[in-house]
């Protein structure tokens, strides 16, 4: 436990020194506030581009605040996920390759606490980045459109965050299993995409599909009853994340070599 904390402090220092803790939340903030602003000025933007014939009346229904925040979640789900996965993709594999993992693990450190610290650091990037972006979106949406019940906004945030945490957990575990960061990023994104696809093809997939959380959160924001039990999906996501992390811990403990793959033989 103590070692996990020491390793976590090092990870934290790295997030700060490499400005990851600055630019990832910043991009989320940008994504978050651009949505309400764009929606507000969309009619003006369309009018000023001038490609429409003279006298055309632009009649767009004013979106509700819930819809806008729902769109923000969709933005986070694409660009945001990509960003988070890129920021965590090599967190373990790059250290194994450079030999830093070896240096750490020749000291009396359990591989499990190494993985746990990596995971905790990734969470400490994901949760603030999401929260800052989402808070920015909320603020501008309320400023530019109508108010929205805080309870709905907050529960929706927590539900949606479950999906992001699941994907980032997956990215961390993948960086343990795969030797290259690119491969870890690719497989994580492929799995995220696969969950989205399952969602389209099989509507009862909420039982095992964490990506349903985004949809559930969007229902909550629009104050509509979801078509499925969000509670079950939240529970299943927690269970899946826990299982994934447990398998990660187990495989880290059982791992045969912490040496770079090309240096292992002699």
């Amino acid at each position: 436990m103590r070692n996990t904390l020491i390793l976590f402090q090092k990870e934290w220092m790295e997030l700060i020194r490499h400005y990851k803790w600055l630019w990832v939340p910043l991009v989320f903030l940008l994504l978050g506030i651009s949505q309400p602003i764009t929606m507000k000025f969309l009619p003006d933007i369309l009018a000023s581009t001038g490609s429409l014939p003279e006298g055309t009346m632009i009649q767009l229904p004013t979106p509700t605040s819930g819809e806008i925040l729902g769109q923000v979640l969709s933005q986070f789900n694409t660009v945001g996920i990509l960003l988070l996965v890129l920021a965590t993709m090599g967190t373990i594999s790059s250290e194994v390759r450079s030999g830093v993992a070896g240096a750490i693990l020749t000291k009396p450190v359990s591989p499990a606490s190494y993985l746990a610290a990596k995971w905790a650091a990734a969470m400490c990037l994901t949760i603030p980045a999401f929260s800052i972006g989402y808070a920015g979106a909320w603020y501008y949406t309320v400023q530019l459109f109508e108010p929205i019940p805080a309870l709905a906004v907050l529960t929706a945030a927590i539900v949606a965050l479950g999906w992001f945490c699941f994907i980032v957990t997956l990215a961390v575990v993948m960086s343990l299993w795969l030797a290259s960061g690119a491969a870890a990023a690719f497989s994580t994104l492929a799995i995220a995409l696969l969950f989205g696809l399952i969602n389209l093809l099989w509507k009862d997939s909420y039982l095992l599909n964490p990506s349903k959380l985004i949809e559930g959160a969007q229902y909550m924001l629009m104050e509509q009853p979801p078509s499925f039990s969000v509670g079950v999906t939240v529970f299943m996501t927690l269970l899946l994340s826990g299982l994934l992390f447990a398998i990660g811990l187990w495989s880290a403990t059982k791992r045969q070599s912490w040496l770079p793959a090309d240096k292992g033989s002699y």
Binding site: N3, I6, L7, K10, M13, E14, R17, H18, S98, G99, V100, G102, A103, I104, L105, T106, K107, P108, V109, R255, Q256, S257, W258, L259, G264, S265, Y266
Partner: protein, 307 residues
């Protein structure tokens, strides 16, 4: 100080066996050199001892000077300096040592003071607060040594500690090791032979994953004593002819010539020595070196490895 007992240690990568069942005892407080050509399995063996690589089979255990036997996790008792030590290059040397010290179980305060001490000992005090990314190869090696020693292990394992260094860096690291000798059990792999001669008590020669010869360096030396005369001459016109003509001398069984030196294997040291010195006298050979009966490590190495 501790001794290390290795039993039936094996490592296979698929169908390739890198280390064949290895049985070895590293004596307490001594310096043991693991010698062998590239690919002999030295580094693999060291990696298995540190736990970075899980052995296919076999055990490693440690006996402390207090008589306690440790069989499972040896890491608290071991220090390891890899061939090219790695660090988080964005940290400063001091930060890294403190971090590693804490991971080794030292308290925050202890880690800070030991880090300071070791930076001093390894001559890195001045660079302590610079980023490791800007360190030279020699500085990295010394930081690696400080990192390996920070928790005062009883055994220090080193993987070719100086082979990547320039002569100055080599001197620095060797003198550091020399100063630790006697206070700690040292095991290091190398193929730089002369440094072994000055530092080591015991010798383990490996080839293709197996031990081909082992023992105390002094004993091994004695064993082969009286069998080789090495001479070196200054350049002269008929040098080549003269050197090769030496095989005609009485009781010389084999000559090996390389450049200005010749190694003469003999079965009667006294006779061969007499004959050779007379020959030198008679032909006024500009002799620059004459070694009788002292086998050099390089000769032993070549002999064993070529076999």
């Amino acid at each position: 100080m501790s001794s290390l007992v290795i039993k039936q240690l094996t490592k296979s990568f698929g169908s390739h066996t890198a280390v064949h069942p290895l049985n070895l005892t590293i004596r307490e407080g001594k310096c043991t050199a693991l010698l062998g050509p590239n690919g002999a399995g030295k580094t693999t063996t060291l990696h298995m001892l540190t736990g970075l690589l899980k052995p296919t089979s076999g055990t490693v255990s440690l006996r402390t000077s207090a008589g306690k036997s440790v069989g499972s996790d040896l890491r608290p008792h071991l220090g390891f300096l890899p061939q090219a030590p790695s660090f988080s290059d964005w940290m400063t040397g001091r930060e890294w040592l403190r971090f590693i010290g804490k991971l080794s179980g030292l308290s925050r305060k202890e880690a800070a003071s030991r880090a300071g001490q070791w930076l001093e000992t390894t001559g890195l005090a001045e660079a302590a607060d610079r980023r490791i990314g800007g360190y030279s190869g020699g500085m990295r090696q010394r930081l690696g040594l400080a990192q390996a020693m920070i928790h005062e292990p009883s055994i220090l394992l080193l993987d070719e500690p100086v082979s990547a260094l320039d002569p100055i860096g080599r001197r620095e690291v060797m003198s550091l090791l020399q100063s630790m000798k006697g206070e700690i059990t040292l095991l290091f792999s190398t193929h730089v032979l002369h440094e072994v001669e000055e530092l080591c008590d015991d010798l383990v020669l490996m080839k293709e994953g197996s031990i081909v010869k082992q023992g105390e360096w002094a004993e091994l030396r004695k064993e082969s004593e009286g069998t080789v005369i090495t001479i070196e001459v200054e350049r002269f016109s008929e040098m080549q002819d003269w050197l090769s003509s030496l095989s005609q001398l009485p009781s010389i069984t084999k000559t090996e010539i390389s450049g200005y030196t010749a190694a003469l294997h003999t079965n009667d040291m006294n006779k061969a020595r007499q004959a050779l010195l007379q020959e030198v006298q008679r032909k006024r050979i500009p002799l620059s070196r004459f070694d009788a009966g002292v086998i050099s490590l390089e000769q032993l190495f070549m002999e064993v490895v070529a076999r």
